[in-house]
């Protein structure tokens, strides 16, 4: 490959000083293995939760394998472990080559690698234990969040350091995408996770209700944008030309693509909150910026696909290009669908349904999955310095994977549309056609089984992939050849700079020299500014609480027992299946009751509006059923509704309430400004009184005795409180059983 014969720093005939260096591919290999291992784990967890939706017995009767706890594990594993490691793998490979420089610090690279894997392990342990912040894709509790920030900063320093030491004058567009991703993810992560700890692995979001929802979906949408989209676009702009053997179709377009995404994406988050209690102007901004994202995104797709112009015949017998073509097409499909789903009237149908799940999986399986597979197949012979074990297996992987995606996505689209239409159906008498929620679930079960089949095929492909990698790795050389690369040393002048540029490097003042080095920093700062200023533009007005969140006098904080019950709700991941946000739409208010008002959420740290209704909305659950109904329903939901797919929670009736933690939780809430008053000094006694009252009612109505110190009374206290404040004639007393039916 390289002219490894030469040694030392040399000057060529024209006096150019050449430097010798090598690329660090060991780190690329490490990230490659991590990608494949965590990808397989994350997808298998996905398969398990898909089975749980088809048949609740797959919850296995264990608290830490129930859907509510495993769903965040699945999403975190595929986003941060699979896609994250894939991004790092490709970024470490391409960055060094695009900058003609070894990574700034091998130690930081290793720290990044091992730190990230440790975080993944911590996630895999804490999420099944129910330690969660209950914010989607930001579930990990505060100690892990701190670790993520540290590792991410190490990565950023390593990356920027490499840019400063680069030997290539210009930064290729892929590097821009990487920088934007690194900077934005840091900003998103820090601001969305601000919280007040209430224990070693328990915290409450700094924001409440509408503001928290806003921050969360500013984060959530941009996590998709800057963790799953821009990093992979960077990879596309490097690996697609590599695999196709020619430069990108239009470099100009790639730059426009970049700036359009950076300018537009950051505003689009509120489209996740259409028809909720979010102010309507924010919803409109989110929709319009999403609509405007369509053309730039398709520009990127066209740019990627047309890079193959004149080379389409290569696709026939190259599995790598096949993966890229389908991956980029999936990007095009999901970036058309995204703007479409952000249109309010479409969103009214799709929100809370499986349609969103199908949309996400077009992106995750098609775009992130297939781009990763293509990239790794391309990398294998290069970083293991041997032949790919089997091209035929790679072909098979491609076809099985593609078929799996189609099966998955078609089934779940139809599930989403079916359920959305059933929810809004009215019969000839003006009543809901399907008033029983379970009916709308039962109808989906065959589609859920189809999803299991599609997902299984995708995983079979993943196993073929792993096997191919393993066999390729086995045929690696005893020692990897480390080619020596030569490139001219970093000097400040370039001919194109015109008459101002001095021809002899040595004569230039140091300031000019440094100005070149500062450029990547300047670029990074500008990108950060773009993102932060755009965010502020959207976020600041929602914090002007007086105009956006009209207060409701009868809304009061949860009692200490209800607060603990809410923590159980958070721990079990109930928010993954139950929304608490009734939209002002006739079919919603007929089914669930009065639509949710912004002022009802003012003490919701974090907000629990949810994004998916696998089960019914619970915003007005309080008082709907007797306490005994809840006791029986938690113990065995299928006893109450035969076709329910809810996991059972018999352990609530046996697990004792740890009374000592309740005052700590109340203190943390009070620190956030929740007006607890007397309850701060008296939390435990108040909780015990309320628990005894509920337990007595359960016993009196024919239920089991002795529940007054069990978790079941706490979660029932919370359930019975939901949505009642708004109709309370006066403020609900903090103590007492006044609100118990």
């Amino acid at each position: 490959m390289a002219d490894s014969a030469s040694t030392g720093t040399v000057q060529d005939g024209t006096g150019v000083i050449m430097e010798e260096f090598s690329y660090d591919d060991a780190i690329v290999r490490k990230f490659l293995f991590a990608t494949v291992i965590w990808g397989t784990v994350g997808m298998l967890v996905g398969l398990l939760i898909a089975l749980q939706m088809a048949d609740p017995r797959f919850n296995l009767g264990l608290s830490f394998t129930s859907f509510g706890r495993l769903r965040p594990l699945h999403t975190n594993a595929v986003i941060f472990a699979f896609a994250g490691n894939a991004f790092f793998c490709g970024a470490y490979y391409s960055t060094q080559r695009l900058l003609k420089a070894r990574m700034f610090s091998d130690a930081l690279s290793k720290f990044h690698f091992w730190g990230w894997q440790a975080i993944i392990v911590a996630a895999a342990v804490t999420l099944p234990l129910g330690l969660t912040q209950a914010k989607e894709y930001a579930e990990l509790e505060w100690p892990i969040d701190l670790a993520i920030a540290v590792v991410w900063v190490a990565f950023a320093i390593n990356f920027i350091g490499t840019m400063i030491r680069r030997r290539e004058r210009h930064l290729y567009v892929a590097i821009w995408f990487y920088i934007a991703s690194i900077v934005t993810v840091a900003v998103l992560h820090i601001f969305n996770n601000l919280s007040v700890p209430a224990g070693a692995f328990k915290s409450y979001s700094l924001y409440a209700g509408v503001q928290d929802a806003f921050m969360q979906w500013w984060y959530g949408h941009n996590a998709v944008a800057f963790f799953l989209t821009t990093p992979f676009l960077g990879l596309m702009y490097y690996f697609m030309p590599k695999a196709a053997g020619g430069p990108v179709f239009s470099y100009r377009l790639s730059i426009l693509h970049f700036w359009s995404l950076v300018f537009l994406y950051i505003w689009a988050g509120p489209h996740h909150l259409h028809y909720t209690a979010l102010p309507e102007w924010a919803s409109t901004v989110g929709m319009l910026f999403s609509v405007m994202l369509w053309a730039p995104s398709w520009g990127g797709m066209i740019n990627g696909l047309l890079t193959l112009r004149g080379a389409w015949q290569k696709v026939v017998d190259d599995p790598i290009l096949k993966f890229f073509v389908v991956g980029i097409t999936a990007y095009g499909m999901s970036t058309f669908e995204g703007p479409m789903l952000s249109i309010k009237s479409v969103n009214a149908l799709a929100h809370y349904t499986d349609w969103i799940i199908a949309h996400v999986h077009t992106g995750a399986l098609g775009w992130n999955g297939f781009m990763t597979f293509g990239m790794i197949y391309w990398l294998l012979p290069r970083i293991f310095q041997t032949k790919l074990f089997s091209k035929k297996l790679a072909e098979l992987h491609f076809w099985i994977g593609t078929f799996g995606i189609i099966l998955y996505v078609v089934a779940i689209y139809s599930a989403g549309v079916t359920q959305g239409l059933m929810w809004r159906a009215f019969d000839a008498t003006g009543r809901l056609t399907y008033p029983d929620f379970v009916e709308t679930v039962t109808r989906l079960i065959p589609m859920y089984w189809t999803r299991v089949a599609g997902g299984s095929l995708f995983i079979v492909g993943m196993l073929l992939f792993s096997y191919n990698i393993l066999r390729t790795w086995q045929s690696r050389p005893a020692r990897y050849d480390v080619p020596v690369v030569k490139a001219p040393r970093l000097t400040p002048v370039h001919r194109e700079d015109g008459p101002k540029a001095a021809p002899i490097a040595g004569l230039l003042p140091a300031a000019v020299h440094r100005s070149w080095e500062r450029k990547p920093i300047l670029f990074t700062v500008l990108t950060a500014l773009t993102v932060i200023v755009a965010s502020l533009f959207e976020i600041i007005p929602t914090f002007l609480i007086k105009s956006n969140v009209p207060t409701i006098a009868s809304v009061t904080p949860y009692t200490p027992l209800e607060l603990y019950g809410r923590d159980i709700y958070i721990r079990e991941g109930c928010v993954n299946c139950h929304s608490q946000m009734i939209r002002p739409l006739r079919y919603e208010t007929e089914r669930y009751g009065e639509y949710s008002k912004p002022g009802e959420s003012v003490y919701e740290h974090p907000f629990l509006w949810g994004s998916r209704r696998i089960g019914p909305d619970l915003a007005r659950e309080g008082g709907k059923y007797p306490n005994l109904w809840h006791v029986r329903h938690f113990a065995n939901p299928q006893e109450i509704a035969a076709n329910s797919i809810m996991p059972s929670y018999p352990q609530f009736a046996t697990t004792p309430i740890p009374w000592a933690v309740i005052p700590k939780r109340v203190d943390a809430m009070a620190m956030l400004g929740v007006p607890y008053g007397e309850a701060i000094n008296n939390a435990e006694a108040m909780a015990r009184t309320q628990a005894a009252a509920i337990a007595a009612d359960i016993e009196a109505s024919g239920g089991p005795a002795g529940l007054e110190d069990r978790e079941i009374v706490a979660i029932i206290a919370y359930m019975q409180r939901l949505g009642r404040d708004i109709s309370a004639p006066t403020a609900v007393a903090l103590v007492g059983d006044g609100e118990q039916p």
Binding site: H170, P488, H494, V533, L544
Partner: protein, 64 residues
Amino acid sequence: MKLSDIMSNAGLSVFAEVALVLFVLAFLGIIWWVFRPGNARRWESDAQMPLDDLHPQQPRQREE
């Protein structure tokens, strides 16, 4: 004092409008920069960057 109260009283909403104007100007500037004929050669050589792992397309100094 709640965070929202602090934010309410800070009078920050004017920054939002300023930001929007700056944004539009910056984006227009970028479009101009991208389509400036003088930059065409730059894009041409930049696009070649991924294709050569060993030799810089735009070394920081190069006698031509």
